[in-house]
């Protein structure tokens, strides 16, 4: 019956609206829990969520070794040309030429923190860090080199 469906629809709509208002009303009346960070008042004890995306970094271990093979997958994945991979050719002990990363250029000023490069990396060489206070007085400082000088590829990472 048309009229029954109609009334059912109205009933369902009113009910769902009331459920929503109940939820927000609950939040309104329980004002103790605040989910926002009171930055900069709590700069010392900032409590950022683990997946907060502040900037792209490359992890190095204690031997100054990273996992970046220089495959350029991140460069291709980046939607706005933030990453530039500059490769060099290492000569392996057997005398073979081997491609390796020379400079991982990262333009922080272009980055939208989308995290696609991190997703694309086959060896998990890069990840998103929590740091977010990026202001500097000179724009040149925002162009970063992510692989440490003299760092090299971890053994066993292809």
């Amino acid at each position: 019956m048309f009229i029954v469906d109609y009334l059912k629809e109205v009933y369902g709509a009113v009910k769902s609206l009331l459920v929503g208002m109940n939820r927000t009303g609950y939040y309104f009346t329980h004002h103790k829990e605040i989910i926002t960070q009171q930055y900069p008042d709590n700069r010392e004890e900032l409590n950022l969520p683990e997946r907060f995306r502040g900037e792209v970094v490359m992890a190095h271990d204690e031997n100054n070794e990273h996992a970046c093979t220089g495959c350029s997958a991140c460069e291709l994945a980046c939607p706005n040309g933030t990453i530039k991979i500059i490769n060099k050719f290492d000569i392996s002990p057997e005398g073979k030429k081997k491609k390796a990363i020379d400079t991982f250029v990262y333009h922080l000023e272009l980055c939208t923190m989308c995290g696609l490069c991190v997703e694309a990396c086959p060896t998990n060489a890069i990840n998103m860090a929590n740091t977010f206070e990026h202001s500097v007085f000179n724009r040149g400082l925002l162009t970063k080199r992510l692989n440490n000088p003299d760092s090299k590829l971890k053994a066993g990472v292809e």
């Binding site: 929503g20 927000t24 939040y27």
Partner: protein
């Protein structure tokens, strides 16, 4: 007991004694004008900070908390900022209409204030067609909005204005019908009479389910009529930047902003008058002693209490519901609110004729 009525009679008597009637009337005009502007300014400051605090609390945030204790002077700081800003008129705009539009919107808000009873015997103009006057004047504000949108010479503004026009024209019907259902009960368009008819209980409680239905419809429809979320299609930040007032800046923008809040106040005042008894204290039938206790609370406190309760309700809507699409908006009005309010009006007439209400 303190009442605003005695104050107004005092002022009027004194003015009439000291000055000839014409001059006294002139003075009264000036006083009323100043009071109205003062009310507007105060409302603007209070409602903006209230909205921001309500929004923050609903979204589990703190809200403005820098200016003054707990951020209570934030809206004053905002006002100062807006006054200092340049009111830009774009080159391609129709300059005359562009600059006129905010004032039309503001003027409408001011005019609607006239018949509202703020307290017992305290209103600007006690006309016998109060409700009709309000619904007639309030539809003029759509002209101001269309004017703003069209003269801006900006596609966002135009789209916003057109949406706003469609919205106001359709939702006015439901507002009118739900107002009518109370008029059926009171048999008078005079706001004072409507309030007095709720001497022994508010219509919301006296007239059973039809009153509740028309109250719900009224609240939904006025939310749409004042262009508030979830019906804020004419502003729709995410789609149209700011809709019809995209091109406005400085004080001209502030006038639109203020007019929005004043309109909310006014429709809530009307809602409070029709359904919640206006300045009438909470009375239950013939419980003389209970009614007497309630009478000790000044009537203007009752009025503002009820109005602010309704304003809070509308803010609660805004921060709970997502925005509708244009087709959903018109569906809601023409397929649901309008038929329901028509049937409801018939039911209400039956209730009124048979005398089923208390």
């Amino acid at each position: 007991m303190f009442s605003l009525e005695s104050l107004t009679t005092l002022v009027q008597d004194w003015l009439n004694k000291t000055f000839p009637p014409a001059i006294a009337l002139l003075f009264e005009f000036v006083i009323v004008g100043v009071l109205a502007i003062a009310l507007f300014a105060a409302l603007g400051l209070v409602l903006v900070i209230m909205e921001r605090k309500v929004a923050a609390w609903i979204q589990i945030r703190l809200g403005p908390n820098r200016v003054g204790p707990k951020g209570m002077f934030q809206s004053a700081a905002d006002t100062v900022k807006l006054i200092m800003k340049e009111g830009l008129t774009p080159d391609g705009a129709d300059k005359f209409l562009f600059n006129l539009a905010p004032f039309i919107v503001m003027m409408v808000a001011m005019l609607v204030l006239a018949p509202i009873g703020f307290a017992k015997g305290f209103h600007i103009w006690d006309i016998n067609i109060g409700v009709l006057y309000v619904s007639a004047i309030s539809s003029v504000s759509v002209i101001g909005i269309l004017m703003a949108g069209w003269s801006s010479n900006n596609k966002y503004s135009l789209l916003g204005a057109m949406r706003s026009g469609a919205q106001m024209v359709s939702y006015e019907l439901s507002v009118g019908l739900s107002v009518l259902s109370i008029i059926v009960l009171t048999g008078s368009l005079n706001i004072n009479d409507i309030v007095l008819s709720q001497q022994n209980g508010w219509w919301l409680f006296k007239a059973h389910i039809p009153a509740i239905i028309s109250f719900v419809i009224f609240i939904i429809a006025v939310t749409a009529e004042t262009n508030r979320a979830p019906f804020d299609l004419s502003e729709a930040e995410s789609e149209l930047t700011a809709g019809f007032h995209t091109e406005y800046s400085g004080m001209k923008f502030a006038l639109f902003f203020l007019a929005e809040y004043i309109n909310i106040f006014i429709v809530c005042a009307i809602g409070a008058t029709l359904f919640l008894g206006g300045w009438m204290p909470f009375h239950i039938g013939n419980w003389e002693s209970f009614n007497h206790v309630m009478d000790y609370i000044p009537t203007f406190l009752w009025f503002f209490g009820k109005t602010f309760f309704l304003i809070f309700l509308i803010m609660w809507f805004r921060w709970t519901f997502p925005r509708l699409r244009v087709d959903q908006l018109l569906n809601l009005e023409w397929k649901y609110l309008l038929p329901i309010s028509m049937v409801n009006l018939i039911m209400m007439t039956l209730v009124a004729i048979k005398g089923w209400h208390f």
